[in-house]
Amino acid sequence: MQSPAKWLSVMLLVVSTSGYAADEVQSKPVLNQDVINRLSDMGSYLRTLKRFSVEAQVSQDVELDSGYKVKTLGKVDMTVDGRAHLVAHLASDRYVRDFYYNGTQFTQYSPALKYYTTVKAPDNVYDMLHEIEDYYGIQVPMEDLFQFGRNQDQIDALTMAAYVGPSKIAGKVCDHYAFSQPNVDWQLWIAREGNPLPCRLVITSTDSESKPEYSAEYHWNLKPAVKSGAFTFQPGKGDIAIPLKKADADTAAQ
């Protein structure tokens, strides 16, 4: 646990650096190793969790071709059991999806349309997330929670890692950090007391003129009730299997 005094000094360093930067044309990027360590520690801690449930209030900007940003709101909840079981439920203003993963199969389901699709999946959640995204273009909500600080390439890509200050989220003090990497600025809040759980995440896509944002506030349950069978999709009456098209569709040539 870092002492508050230390964080205060780090914070002052950030402030003084930015003050200095104001006089310069090019500011020197901040790469605070303590902040990077804190990110890695949080990621490592999350990967030690055998079983957890997390709920997130999410907002996401969608950019129209006119440049207008529409903010969509939603809620995600996810339960993970071990390394090979995951179930997630996404309910946004505009659509609902359920995701099931049981260590061998991945299913995506739309309760409203009653369409589901099931594909073979790798035997652990990390590889599953990669494959589902790379091969099928499906982004399982909150995949970041499995990945923070796991990959040295990701750390190396950071061009800024700075401490901003304490922040109170849902009644708890969380430390606020700011990161930059190519095409993305992101901010992360990590609980100061107790387990280093993420409190909030904001991602700004900087490669787009209107800089759309994604934001998630997390609520954790480290002792969730888990039903066996909850991770395997069972089609109900009227549910219909439809194909899942591989990403990079042949229509890309259009």
């Binding site: 529409v70 505009r94 699709t117 990669h130 499906i138 700004t204 490669d207 890309a252």
Partner: protein
């Protein structure tokens, strides 16, 4: 040859990008969602997303064609099912997940889409909001189709979005 179509495969392609919270619900509006992840395979951000970027650029170009019903000119030689004359200005909410038929932002685009649909190219991919209004779901074996007049569509997931491929009548 009188072949007009409101179907724009280019827009369908955009849907392959990872859209986490929102499917396309606003008619004929190209969209791009904010990134929802900072970590990705290979690290360093989003090298694995060039397809989405590319598609977006593609759609931006296509956006000039949004009010032009002749966007499928290159496919006229394979047009089938001409002169279906489906009035598109119908119940646009039908195939949306949310069953919410109130789409104020869609109004302008919907007005431009009141032209008669006279062709649907086999193999072209459309979104729910580009579907005709008078469709019924038909099962053939274990396969689901949407039959809209004499045009048949097969639903599929592209990423997390459901799109519809024009197919020959089963």
């Amino acid at each position: 040859m009188k072949t007009t179509s409101i179907f724009k495969p280019g827009l369908g392609v955009l849907l392959a990008a990872s859209v986490v919270l929102m499917s396309v619900t606003m008619d004929a509006q190209a969209q791009r969602a904010a990134r929802a992840s900072v970590n990705h395979a290979g690290g360093g951000g989003h090298e694995a997303r060039p397809a989405a970027q590319h598609n977006n650029a593609n759609v931006q170009r296509n956006s000039n064609n949004r009010n032009n019903v002749n966007v499928n000119n290159s496919h006229n030689n394979v047009n089938v099912n001409r002169d279906v004359n489906v009035n598109v200005d119908g119940d646009h909410g039908r195939y949306y997940d949310d069953h919410d038929h109130y789409h104020p932002v869609a109004t302008a685009a919907a007005v431009t889409a009141t032209v008669a649909v006279t062709s649907a190219v086999v193999g072209s991919i459309v979104n729910a909001n580009q579907m005709p209004s008078s469709c019924v779901q038909v099962m053939r074996g274990n396969t689901a189709y949407m039959q809209c007049g004499s045009t048949w569509y097969q639903p599929q997931y592209q990423g997390s979005n459901v799109t519809y491929v024009v197919v020959n009548a089963p």
